[in-house]
């Protein structure tokens, strides 16, 4: 059994099937990116892995534990989520926001202990957020804000982090910076990353593995290099895509007919 084991998962919303018989096994320390056109079911899959979606069939297991059998607090110690549109509550400091990542450890009735505070300090330092710590969360720029959300998920000290379009709204430089930061965490801490991304070039360059989802079904699943070169990619995006090799990196560009 894999570290993260998505086993024949189907998710329904009313009569609509959002995910149909999706199976994925993800090994520890790997980065798996889920790609696919809008409405393919990427967010649903990510939420199902984070335990936020009830699955109609199948199971999601992380480290051998079935996600649906755990309560919120147990789950939050196994898997952290970086949502596509994180809510930033006005009036909260960056430090308090990052500290929310420790809730699963100290609980809602106790204050953070020394260990919790130490973890938060370390994370703030690693993500260069120390200077921002006393600031109101709403005063941060898009890039800083996304780094702060990432810091919160790292403070959860989980081995698995799922990210839903973490680069939404960021300029190119900040997109690269955020993904580089994440890559470093994978290398340093052996994190397992499951992310959705729209940018196929970035997806291909940062992930070890790409999974193409379309209409709730896994269409292609393989090493990034192979998936971006697959002809099925153009087919499922409904457009002509070309892969250009720039100094050994794959760049995926759309071609106008």
């Amino acid at each position: 059994m894999s570290w993260v084991d998505v086993n024949h998962v189907s998710v329904k919303a009313g009569a609509t099937t959002l995910l149909s018989d999706v199976s994925l096994g993800i090994e520890p320390g790997t980065w798996c990116t889920i790609i696919g056109p809008n409405g393919a079911g990427k967010t649903t899959l990510v939420e199902a892995i984070a335990g936020l979606r009830r699955v109609a069939a199948g199971t999601v297991q992380i480290a051998g534990q079935s996600i649906s059998a755990l309560n919120e607090r147990e789950r939050a110690r196994l898997v952290a989520l970086v949502p596509q549109h994180p809510q930033v509550p006005a009036g909260m400091t960056v430090r308090d926001y990052v500290s929310l990542g420790r809730l699963a450890f100290h609980g809602v009735l106790r204050s953070p202990n020394t260990e919790d505070r130490r973890v938060v300090d370390t994370v703030l330092e690693r993500l260069s957020l120390v200077d921002f710590a006393p600031r109101d969360v709403t005063t941060l720029s898009g890039g800083e804000r996304q780094r702060m959300v990432l810091a919160r998920s790292l403070a959860q000290s989980t081995m698995v982090i799922v990210l839903d379009e973490p680069t939404t709204g960021l300029d190119l430089r900040h997109q690269m910076e955020l993904l580089e930061l994440l890559k470093k965490e994978v290398a340093d801490c052996g994190l397992t990353i499951i992310a959705t991304l729209h940018d196929l070039t970035l997806a291909g360059q940062f992930a070890d593995r790409l999974v193409l989802l379309d209409h709730g079904v896994v269409v292609i699943d393989g090493a990034s290099r192979d998936v971006v070169r697959s002809s099925a990619l153009s087919e499922h995006y409904g457009m002509n895509l070309r892969v250009i090799d720039v100094n050994g990196s794959d760049v995926i560009v759309p071609v106008r007919h």
Binding site: E72, R75, A76, L81, P89, M92, D96, V108, R152, Q156
Partner: protein, 328 residues
């Protein structure tokens, strides 16, 4: 804290029978064995059998309504939430109206009013909870809408009953709806203390959970907050405490909505601070309002709900204009 002490002293000292402040303070100290009281027997009775229970009930009511309002605002992430949101007011109003209107028929006695008010309030919240999908699968907005529907239905039933009843009982219902501490005695204080103290404690302890829930339901669940359990517990505590208070003092408006907002303006957006400080401010605010209510037109009294609104509404407007655009 100072505001609370000032309010408590006012509650004891101010009244139609003038008794010197220091003599009252001296009397209070004499009860804990410091110094000697200089009060006459009658003065002592006024202080300890009339003003003290009234003051204590005012403290309890103010604290409970303010903390329940703050808690509701947090759990529903809605600045307009007040303790009556889920139907407590409409349910209690209908219950009390049934009791008051029916007095002439001999089926109920005046002592039934608080009982029926309490029962009505709890039944209304239970209805809202069930209609709103038991709050388990539904989101906060569904629950609020269910509360609106239940309130509308019960209020119309109450209006119908009032319309069918005599002018005399309409006046009684009306006075009850505006709230009053006039009937306070030690017995009514003892009756509500256990519920209210427990409910205030639960609300205050929910601060950290409510802070976490400010990032939204899904996100806070992913952080390990058991959102549905927290919601069930704090709604139950706020509603039970509010129902107990309403059954004892009627519907006192505005405390539950403005006090948490004033506190938020003073101490920031963290419910870990808002809730305990709302307890103190709410208690002080209501006792001061009650002191005004019973002195401004003495020997008769202003309805407490009128005083809280007359003082509360302008304060609310000032806060709104200060916080324009950032009210959450």
């Amino acid at each position: 804290m100072l505001a609370l002490v000032v309010a408590m002293v006012c509650g004891l000292v101010v009244g139609p029978t003038s008794i010197g402040t220091w003599r009252v303070v001296g009397d209070v100290f004499s009860h804990v064995g410091i110094g000697h009281s200089t009060l006459t027997g009658l003065q002592s009775t006024i202080i300890w059998q009339l003003r003290a229970p009234r003051m204590v009930l005012g403290l309890l009511a103010g604290a409970m309504l303010a903390v329940a309002g703050g808690t509701y605002q947090g759990v529903f992430r809605n600045p307009l939430a007040d303790p009556y949101l889920l139907g407590v007011a409409a349910g209690a109003g209908l219950g009390a109206t049934v009791a008051i209107v029916d007095v002439g028929n001999g089926l109920t006695t005046p002592t039934w009013t608080p009982l029926l008010a309490f029962g009505g309030a709890m039944a209304a919240v239970a209805c809202t909870w069930v209609i709103g999908g038991k709050g388990l699968r539904s989101n906060a907005a569904t629950l609020i809408l269910a509360g609106v529907a239940v309130s509308a239905l019960l209020t119309s039933a109450q209006t119908f009953l009032q319309q069918q009843s005599s002018a005399n009982s309409i006046t009684h219902v009306y006075l009850w709806l505006l709230g009053s501490l006039a009937s306070a005695d030690w017995q009514s204080v003892l009756l509500v203390v256990p519920y209210v103290a427990l409910c205030i404690l639960i609300c205050v302890l929910s601060g950290r959970a409510l802070d976490a829930m400010s990032v939204g339901e899904d996100e806070s669940r992913s952080l390990g907050v058991r959102v549905r359990q927290v919601r069930l517990i704090v709604i139950a505590a706020s509603s039970l405490g509010t129902a107990a208070i309403v059954s004892a003092v009627g519907l006192i408006g505005f405390v539950g909505i403005i006090v948490p907002h004033i506190v938020r303006l003073l101490v920031g957006t963290s419910y870990r601070r808002i809730l305990p400080i709302s307890v103190i401010f709410g208690a002080a605010f209501l006792v001061l309002c009650d002191t005004l209510a019973r002195t401004v037109v003495a020997p008769s009294e202003l309805p407490l709900g009128v005083v809280t609104a007359v003082i509360g509404a302008p304060v609310f407007v000032v806060i709104l204009s200060l916080r324009r655009g950032s009210v959450r």
